[in-house]
């Protein structure tokens, strides 16, 4: 912190000097904190921040109102009396089709999908990334290029062949099938992430281990893994949010009784029969968004690093 504040003061000092050089002395300098420039700057940022925060606020406020109040008032007004009933209803009673046990079913389905998918996809991708970084063989870069190009192909193009493949091995519609699908489509970005990270580690370490007689797996488990905890965390953040938020694969590759939370949420909110209970809908939406939001707020800078690493090619 000290470093940054000194940097700021030197920058401010530099400003002052350069202003004087440009226009000569003009009496007392105004206080910097309330200069028109700063008002503009923070004003604009503040307005944007409001736009971004507004939906979250609306969600929370609506989910804490009773239905009569929702019908009366406007969506921005805070609740007159706070009730947690919509939350209870969304979690345990909301109906999709014949099931009336609420979003909790979707939540546990999503957890059951999430845990193995994250573990398997990261395991497979990290080993591939390690092989690509340290054990190049003929054609390895070629396969990797196809993998990266594959990241840009719309999923719709590959959906049906994957359905056929899963049906052939008898896992279409099951949890195992969905785990395989998440592993497949997580491969490009994760492999890229791990390959770039492993390639940035000093190669001498790898060579020394080779000379000491360590093999492929020994180097991976004894040297690479312990050194790459941060990148595993980044990959986990990427996968947890990505898989939790997935809708398309859930709806294509699972049956209604194992639908993940996002699919169930959409079915609850957009169901045509019955009276629309907006407060329950918003509580359900918040519940579904809660997991990635918690991951986001806890991970902070690592999340940014994850999406930057994922988004910008290495």
């Amino acid at each position: 912190m000290a470093n940054i504040s000194t940097l700021n003061t030197t920058a401010a000092g530099f400003d002052a000097v350069s202003d004087q050089v440009a226009s000569g002395p003009r009496g007392r300098k105004p206080r910097r904190t309330l200069s028109p420039r700063n008002i503009m700057l923070y004003g604009t940022l503040f307005v944007f921040a409001l736009y971004y925060l507004l939906p979250l606020y609306v969600m929370v406020v609506t989910s804490l109102k009773g239905m009569p109040e929702v019908r009366m008032g406007n969506i921005f007004s805070p609740p007159m009396e706070i009730t947690f009933e919509p939350w209870v209803k969304a979690w345990a009673e909301a109906c999709t089709g014949l099931n009336c046990d609420g979003l909790s079913r979707g939540f546990w389905n999503s957890v059951r999908i999430l845990v193995p998918s994250v573990v398997v996809s990261i395991a497979v991708a990290s080993v591939s990334g390690y092989a690509l970084a340290n054990w190049r063989f003929k054609g390895s870069e070629f396969y990797f290029s196809i993998l990266i190009i594959g990241a840009f192909i719309p999923y719709q193009v590959m959906l049906y062949p994957v359905v056929i493949a899963l049906r052939e091995i008898g896992v279409y519609g099951t949890l195992t099938g969905l785990v395989i699908v998440h592993t497949i489509f997580g491969m490009p970005i994760l492999t890229l992430l791990f390959r770039n990270y492993f390639a940035s580690l000093p190669v001498e370490l790898f060579k020394a281990a080779r000379i000491d007689g360590a093999g492929f797996w020994q180097i991976y488990f004894r040297i690479m893994l312990p050194m790459s905890l941060p990148i595993f965390v980044v990959a986990m953040i990427l996968q947890v949010t990505g898989i939790w938020n997935d809708f398309l694969f859930g709806v294509v590759f699972t049956r209604p009784d194992v639908y993940p939370m996002t699919v169930q949420l959409n079915n609850i909110v957009n169901s045509v029969q019955g009276v629309k209970e907006y407060n329950v809908n918003m509580a359900a939406t918040l519940l579904t968004g809660a997991v990635p939001l918690i991951v986001y707020f806890l991970s902070g800078r690592l999340f940014v690093r994850g999406i930057a690493a994922g988004a910008v090619k290495g």
Partner: protein, 300 residues
Amino acid sequence: MTGHAPAKRPNQLFRNLTAKIASIPMILIALGIFLGGSLWTVVYSFTNSKLLPRASFVGFDQFERLWSSSRWIISIQNLAIYGILSLIFSMVIGFLLAALMDQKIRFENTFRTIFLYPFALSFIVTGLVWQWILNPEFGIQGIVRSLGWESFSFDPLYNADIVIYGILIAGLWQGTGLVMCLMLAGLRGIDEDIWKAARVDGIPMWRTYLFIVIPMMRPVFITTLVIIASGIVKVYDLVVAQTSGGPGNASEVPAKYVYDYMFQAQNLGQGFAASTMMLLTVAIIIIPWAYLEFGGKKRG
């Protein structure tokens, strides 16, 4: 790599054998799913498959039917409007926010957290929230009317002419934070000395941005463009959650067309043809970029 200790030159095939075995999943996915799967879909888009894929080829019939379907034409128009506006707005807003954030401001982390959090949410959540905010009875329209402006009308989700803009508002809310982050990383990558030089020369800040910094950030802009564009082609969940394609079919998009024909209408041929067109769209975006990016150097 394992101890074969051969007298003659080791067989090339067995060099790094463990690494090769460990790479089998990657090779299978790359060749079998990404390459093979895409080719399979393209090939079968020339067949008249209905409920099950059948290899009876009918030439370009499916594509003719596709392009004479009004629903597909609407999907393409929507994608074009959504895509172009979304590119322009997310680039402009994203850059503007990044430039503001780069002014050595206080609370930078707080602002960044606020701008980026929608990106952590799914399109389903995004779509449902904005469906509620744009609800004509209780949402923005209702509030403005209750303030006294009785004739005010803003109900994008129930008006076929402007429904796509309602989706655009939600899409921008979700995605601009990412653009801001990428742009901010690009801005931070610019040498501080360039700013100092520009200031010494008395160049106003906006001109420095426009004529020095933005041209220097060309790679960042191109990468961002490719990321946003390839995301736009895939847009699906947002529409499903926010409007389910309605009113009527005014907010249909190609990805939804593909899903509906493949898994609901049991008309696989149409689904394959539509997805092949999507692949073509992406290829038109990606190939020039890949050529620019990797053409000179031998990489990728």
